[in-house]
């Protein structure tokens, strides 16, 4: 299947990457080339084969339900590009 512009635009929206209309076609071509190449997997018979999740080397553990970290609000907020008091800031999202 080949990738069309409308789908490319929809993916960019899903990924929250603001592409200009002028960029869309070149992105579409690059992705379409890669998708055409990975289509070779369609020839592999995977009937009855389970999907590999992670590398399946270790069983996932549950840790003790105890506090291991915390009280580091300033350190966490120090990474943010814009803060106000003890908060991250965003544009108004409710009317």
């Amino acid at each position: 299947m080949s990738l069309d512009l409308a789908t490319t635009r929809r993916i960019a929206k899903l990924a929250r990457i603001g592409l200009e209309d002028a960029e869309l076609e070149s992105v579409r071509q690059k992705l379409d080339g890669i998708l055409g190449w990975v289509d070779q997997l369609s020839e592999v018979d995977v009937e009855g084969v389970p999907p590999m999740v992670g590398t399946e080397m270790e069983a996932l553990r549950q840790r003790e339900d105890v506090v291991t970290d915390g009280n580091c609000r300033e350190a966490v907020l120090s990474c943010a590009p814009e803060t106000s008091g003890p908060f991250y800031t965003v544009p108004k999202v409710v009317e």
């Binding site: 990738l3 789908t7 929250r16 990975v38 997997l41 995977v46 084969v49 999907p51 590398t55 943010a80």
Partner: protein
């Protein structure tokens, strides 16, 4: 002299007080000042006073008999590992000013072992690339040059290209790398050094900026196989903070080097004789087979039937995980921010302007293969093929102890080559990706030069958690090859 040592030699010299950690640190800071403007191997060089203070503390430990395994050894750190109070960029504009308030588990272990960090090495943006040309802070130059052709700038490989160039050129005794599909092994081969991707789960991923979490694994990039063992000992070990970290004990890896390989069974996978494999690389591979046979190994032909699907599988799974991991760069919590009137507008502008083209394309590719209607056809299918690729290795390792293959399908290529078609660039990882998909350990060892005078590497792949046998065979290969070449651009070449 001090910038040309192995870790093992430097550790012995420090212990015997032939030179001080301050001498070592000073020699490296001078080499960096002289060569880094040309190589661009480091994005950030640590302040000299901090490096010297760490070296002085190491000297004090040698004086009072409390020196640790990596005490006073100058190390480069790939700029993908978060370092507390030191800018960590992932070679992206998105994180150009990011100063982590915490230390990654791997770098903390290296510090606890006494390492002296000299700087943060350049890489492909978010570790996505095979030539170190996607860094927002400029390409890295390979210190090797084609014989009689100094004008052509060669790539160091990627994504750990800065680490490889720094170690090859004498700007660090060793460096950390990370490997998702070949990002330690391919640049190690291109720069004539040793690179080890450990078993998935051997080194903690905590505090290492994520690309594809089921594949990412940290490892050492060094000048000898013994050094790779020594440094891996310091980097590896269980970490509660990484749910996929293995709690198996960490063996004394360095002691595996030098052990006899007599009687070990070495598999030669038929499928790695790829069409179009350059004759020089095929010949080097044959030479490697002969060396190991002479060392007493039994050579066995094996088959890994799904090898040819490794890359296509990788280029579905890795972008899918990348699109998920890189969703965190939203312009709100950390990193760069581009303002816009709406929240979606902030996301879209921040991510369009903060990520370079290759990273954007991989996020978009990953978003596509995970999106409704395509998930089963691409992502689920790739996960099933990945099971088959892993089974190939598990079955091969019922017959043999290790596999021997070339590391990369070419020597270092020129900046500007392979740039237009992403698939051409991806083919660089054809021999390294399958081991990543299976999660098994793999080591690249420099074994010779091609006709143009550029280094070539061979790869040894082992069973899950059997780095020791990989290192033993790597040591035998290293002994037989006797690779003692250094690149044209080197701290010890005429200033």
């Amino acid at each position: 002299m001090l910038t040309g040592l192995t870790l093992t030699e430097a550790r012995a010299g420090l212990a015997a007080r032939k030179f001080s950690a301050r001498d070592l640190a000073t020699a490296h800071m001078q080499a960096i000042a002289r060569l880094n403007p040309k190589l661009n191997a480091y994005i950030t060089v640590l302040p000299e006073k901090d490096v010297l203070a760490a070296a002085d503390a190491a000297d004090a430990r040698y004086a009072d008999g409390t020196a640790r395994p990596m005490e006073g050894l100058p190390i480069g750190v790939k700029d993908l590992f978060c370092t507390k109070g030191v800018k960590t960029t992932a070679a992206s504009k998105m994180l150009a000013d990011f100063v982590p308030p915490y230390e990654s588990s791997v770098t903390q272990r290296l510090l606890d072992a006494g390492s002296v960090f000299v700087g943060k090495t350049n890489l492909d943006e978010f570790a996505m690339g095979s030539a170190n040309i996607t860094s927002a802070f400029g390409s890295v130059l390979n210190p090797w040059q084609r014989k009689g052709d100094e004008a052509t700038a060669l790539v160091p490989g990627g994504s750990s290209g800065g680490s490889a160039a720094a170690v090859a050129a004498g700007l660090a005794l060793a460096a950390t790398g990370t490997d998702t599909g070949g990002s330690i092994r391919q640049p190690a081969a291109f720069c004539g050094i040793v690179g080890l991707k450990p078993t998935y789960g051997r080194c903690s991923r905590w505090g290492t900026i994520a690309f594809a979490s089921s594949l990412d694994q940290a490892g050492p990039m060094t000048r000898s196989v013994a050094d790779a063992g020594l440094m891996l000992e310091a980097m590896a070990g269980f970490d509660e903070k990484d749910s996929t970290s293995s709690n198996r004990p960490v063996p004394a890896f360095a002691q595996a080097v030098g052990k006899s390989v007599k009687g070990l069974r070495v598999g030669i996978p038929a499928e790695y004789r790829a069409p179009g494999l350059p004759a020089e690389i095929a010949a080097m591979w044959e030479q490697g087979i002969a060396w190991l046979r002479d060392a007493g190994c039994e050579i066995v032909d094996v088959s890994l039937p799904h090898t040819k699907y490794g890359l296509a599988t990788y280029y579905i799974i890795a972008p899918a995980e990348c699109s998920s991991n890189l969703a965190r760069y939203d312009g709100i919590r950390f990193g760069a921010r581009k303002d816009a009137p709406t929240l979606d507008g902030i996301y879209e502008r921040t991510r369009a302007e903060g990520f370079g083209e290759e990273v954007r394309n991989r996020i978009l590719m990953g978003t596509y293969v995970l999106s409704a209607g395509y998930y089963d056809a691409y992502y689920l299918k790739a996960q099933k093929v990945r099971t088959l690729i892993k089974r190939d290795f598990v079955q091969a390792f019922e017959q043999v102890d290790v596999l021997l293959t070339p590391t990369a399908p070419s020597a270092a290529f020129a900046q500007g080559e392979n740039m237009d078609d992403p698939v051409q660039m991806y083919l660089n990882d054809i021999f390294t990706v399958p081991a990543s998909m299976a999660g098994v350990p793999a080591l690249s060892v420099p074994v010779g030069l091609d006709a143009k005078g550029l280094p070539l590497g061979l790869q040894i792949i082992g069973r899950h958690f059997d780095e020791e046998t990989v290192l033993s065979v790597g040591g035998a290969l290293e002994d037989a090859a006797g690779f003692a070449h250094t690149p044209t651009l080197h701290a010890e070449a005429g200033a």
